[in-house]
């Protein structure tokens, strides 16, 4: 599937298959084409080549109002001239559902989103979180083929966002509905999804389960976009058994991976996988170790962010639990260890 947006291709040869009942997330920085892709599925953006199917049924030839998708908009798009009940009943009326059934189904879905008593309220009387629930109820009630969510939590405050994301996920699992979720927040994506597609400049970088995306990023872009990481560049100096020996400046790192000797590679090493060693402590078997000078220290309460300087030009970020800056500063030189299996190597 591809979509032309003027001369710049916004979504380029994206081919995706989403399973029934799956919570699928499109993740990427702003302007990467994830919202365009979602709007293409809903029919609000044109498809210049390719197809969209729901099961056997081809839907990209249908006008938007015949596609039976339920879209939750970033700003909720609650009709201000209708009550909560009127908003929820809107899609049922369009489908000419009998009045008695409409009442029943509206009541049922409002109960589902914990707004049982809000049917007669007006949108301007509701809070952001409640509006969000109305938007979701309005889509669920029409029993759509797929629920499309376009950054639905971005207008909520941080605490509510965490609550709502659990609620949305729970609702989706309970109803076993297929959902496509667009966000630029990687934490949200990791917490909610069955699978994540990371997008960049209209192309798919990687499609995988959250833990695989984080632990085994397919490209340096994915590694850096998902959380923070140390992305280092070096040359393969040789092999040590199964592992590669990669030289970065004066330091050598061991890493699981495949590459020829003399090849220039980059690799990702997550800050939280690096363990600081106490004085005299030895690294676990199979781990690599190095010594470094202490750079800046940032105390964040539960974790402490540390910068370690190896040699003259290599800086490594480390995140440690339950460490106090003063203890570190007293030590001078710091010893640290890492697990070579937690290093992801990118060729080229």
């Amino acid at each position: 599937m591809s979509r032309s947006f003027g001369t710049v291709r916004a979504v380029d040869d994206v081919s995706l298959e989403i399973q029934d009942g799956e919570f699928f997330t499109l993740l990427g920085p702003s302007g990467c084409g994830k919202t365009t892709l979602l709007r293409t599925i809903a029919g609000f953006a044109d498809l210049s080549a390719g197809q969209i199917r729901f099961g056997q049924k081809r839907i990209d030839t249908l006008p938007p109002h015949r596609r039976n998708t339920g879209m939750v908009f970033q700003n909720y798009a609650i009709f201000p001239n209708l009550t909560v009940g009127g908003n929820v009943a809107y899609g049922l009326k369009a489908r000419s559902v009998p009045e008695v059934q409409i009442k029943e189904r509206v009541a049922r879905v409002l109960r589902l989103v914990h707004l049982d008593t809000y049917g007669d309220r007006w949108p301007h009387q509701l809070s952001g979180g409640q509006l969000q629930r109305v938007a979701i109820a309005r889509c669920l009630v029409i029993e759509p083929e797929v629920l499309l969510l376009d950054e639905p939590l971005s207008n909520l405050d941080a605490k509510l966002r965490v609550e709502m994301r659990a609620e949305i996920r729970e609702l989706q699992q309970q109803l076993k509905i297929t959902a496509i979720y667009v966000t630029h927040d990687q934490e949200e994506a990791l917490a909610m999804s069955d699978r994540i597609a990371v997008m960049r400049a209209g192309k798919l970088e990687q499609v995988a389960r959250p833990q695989d995306i984080y632990r085994a990023p397919a490209t340096p872009f994915v590694a850096e976009f998902m959380g923070t990481t140390n992305l280092l560049r070096g040359t393969v100096a040789g092999r040590a058994g199964e592992a590669l020996r990669i030289r970065v400046g004066q330091q050598e790192f061991c890493a699981a991976g495949k590459a020829g000797e003399g090849e220039s590679v980059s690799f990702s090493l997550r800050p939280e996988t690096i363990r600081l060693l106490g004085p005299g402590e030895t690294p676990p078997t199979g781990w690599g170790a190095f010594e470094a000078r202490l750079g800046s220290v940032e105390f964040l309460g539960a974790i402490t962010r540390i910068e370690l300087q190896i040699g003259n030009d290599t800086m490594l970020r480390v995140a440690s639990l339950d460490v106090l800056p003063d203890e570190l500063k007293a030590r001078g030189r710091i010893a640290a260890a890492y697990d070579p299996r937690r290093i992801t190597v990118f060729r080229g």
Binding site: F44, P64, H65, M71, A77, N81, Y90, I142
Partner: protein
């Protein structure tokens, strides 16, 4: 092959209907005006003789230069008067500001030829004040000619400058001014070097509206020009002249009129379009703290300008309740003028009420969908639609009416002699306002609401009818009322197009002006004022003032 996606069928349908209507009742008549001016007597051969003849006549060349001078003079004066007023209203504590703003917008909807006529009754040859001055031995002749016209235009059109300038003064990020002062510039110098340049594009845009309105005006010069030739009036006289109409010569003047307004509009589109300074004010700048004497001066000035602009309208209401014997007014209260007005016939009053209503409904029915298509669907077709829908703005009512008569006097579609041609002319003239107004409302409505409705299974057409239109309703009604009050007192195309039983209130007043029925004319003027002020006052809260500015 041009692929037309399904999403575009609805706006495309609107565009086709709009093109059909505007093509038939705007472009085709205009083409005929052009045609008349470029064809010889037999109507078959192209010729420039009409232009040569008209432009070699010092009389008609004078009408061109008079119109331009009048336009320039009025524009300059409205700016000189309007910018300080806008500044006072935006930045100084003026008592009764909201009432003042409401009153300041009135001259835009009140018929300007009524103000002109009031001036004649007060300061004309037999005017109340003229006679008083003469009796007191003060030499005063009269205010006919350029002076009178400029005064009337300045008094009635200054809000065109005030409201955009006011909005611009309020949109200024006050930190820009603070930065100026922080860098060592005095408050006065900052005003001239920072504040004024930033609002200038808005001021000039308003000034151009004034210029166009002056050039197109028929009523004011008809009442006040006396022997000064003015384009719009001479075109009318040539077309309906007693010696038999002369469409070729009228056509030449009509084309000259369109050229003048079109140039002014093009200047606005291409010069001002690029000079809009974006100001990112998060809040309106606070009122300035000034010395008491300055505050008092500003209050007196603001209230003074606005109230003086309304004096002619008050005056004519008072005069309409005076006793007239022939053209001479006597200081006794009387309802005779109204009795005379309605004794002639109730028809004009009924015509005004019904035809204006029909025009208001039709203008909304055509203007709102065009506004929707232009705002929601950006394409080359909607850009073209935008340009065509704005064209009536550049066409004087007189010229449009002449074109309509040439086009629909005979042939497959005859409209002359009926009421429909009046309504069509009014609708065409008000389409730019209706389109702009509905586009302005639509900008306030998030497009995702419509997408949500479509997503939930309602077709685009039904979404427009059931969701968008109800959401726009307040604005649509406001726009309809403004259309109603302005067409009820429309003069320039009405006097060309009306026939026998379809005379309106403005026609009655116009005829009374031509004869000596000052009493009846002032009574008709009072009726028009009431029909304007009452509906506007009733729905004032629904209207946003910038909509008035778009009239």
């Amino acid at each position: 092959m041009i692929a037309i996606s399904r999403r575009d069928t609805f706006p495309l349908a609107i565009a086709i209907l709009a093109f059909a209507f505007l093509g038939l009742f705007l472009l085709y008549p205009l083409l005929n005006v052009f045609g008349a001016s470029f064809l010889d007597r037999t109507g078959t051969h192209f010729t420039l003789a009409n232009y040569a003849r008209m432009l070699s006549s010092s009389f008609y060349l004078g009408s061109l230069s008079n119109s331009l001078i009048l336009g320039a003079l009025s524009t300059l004066l409205t700016i000189v008067l309007g910018v300080p007023l806008a500044f006072c209203l935006a930045r100084l504590p003026i008592p009764g500001k909201s009432l003042l703003l409401a009153l300041a917008s009135l001259p835009l909807v009140l018929p300007s030829f009524v103000a002109a006529y009031a001036l004649v009754l007060l300061l004309g040859r037999a005017g109340v004040i003229t006679r008083f001055l003469r009796d007191s031995g003060i030499p005063f002749t009269s205010i006919y000619g350029m002076t009178g016209m400029t005064i009337v235009f300045t008094m009635t059109l200054f809000p065109f400058v005030v409201f955009p300038a006011l909005a611009a003064f309020k949109a200024i990020d006050v930190s820009v001014e603070e930065a100026g002062q922080n860098l060592g510039s005095s408050r006065w110098r900052t005003f001239w070097t920072v504040t004024l340049p930033v609002v200038m594009p808005a001021v000039l845009a308003g000034g151009l509206l004034v210029f166009i309105d002056v050039i197109e005006s028929f009523g004011v010069p008809f009442v006040l020009a006396e022997d000064k030739p003015i384009l719009a009036v001479e075109a009318y006289k040539l077309f309906v002249g007693e010696t038999g109409g002369n469409p070729a010569s009228a056509g030449v003047l009509g084309v000259l009129l369109i050229v003048c307004t079109a140039i002014a509009l093009l200047i606005q589109r291409y010069y001002l379009g690029r000079r809009r300074f974006s100001t990112a004010a998060r809040r309106a700048p606070p009122e300035l703290v000034v010395k008491p004497w300055l505050r008092r001066l500003a209050s007196v000035y603001s209230w003074g300008v606005v109230l003086i602009a309304l004096v002619p309208f008050f005056a004519i209401i008072v005069i309409s309740f005076m006793e007239f014997r022939g053209p001479v007014m006597h200081p006794n209260l009387s309802l005779d003028n109204f009795r005379d007005l309605l004794n002639q016939s109730w028809r004009p009053l009924i015509n005004t009420l019904t035809l204006s209503t029909a025009a208001a409904i039709m203008a909304a029915a055509i203007g709102v969908p065009i506004g929707f298509a232009i705002t929601r669907f950006r394409s080359r077709i909607s850009d073209l639609l935008d340009v065509i829908a704005m064209t009536p703005f550049a066409v004087a009512g007189t010229v449009l009416a002449i074109g309509l008569i040439i086009s629909f006097n005979s042939g497959w579609l005859v409209l002359t002699g009926g009421w429909l041609i009046l309504v069509i002319a009014w609708v065409v003239r008000k389409i730019p306002f209706n389109v702009r107004a509905s586009a302005a409302i639509l900008h306030q409505i998030d497009p995702s609401l419509e997408e949500a409705s479509i997503n939930l299974g309602v077709s685009p057409l039904m979404t427009f009818a059931r969701l968008t239109v109800p959401l726009m309703m307040g604005g649509i009604i406001g726009g309809m009322v403004l259309t109603w009050v302005t067409v009820a007192s429309e003069l320039s195309s009405t006097v060309v197009l009306y026939s026998g039983p379809w005379a309106t209130m403005t026609v009655v007043m116009f005829q009374a002006l031509e004869s000596t029925g000052a009493g009846v004319a002032s009574a008709a003027a009072t009726v028009l004022i009431v029909f304007t002020v009452l509906p506007v006052a009733l729905i004032y809260r629904l209207l946003r003032r910038h909509e008035l500015g778009m009239m």
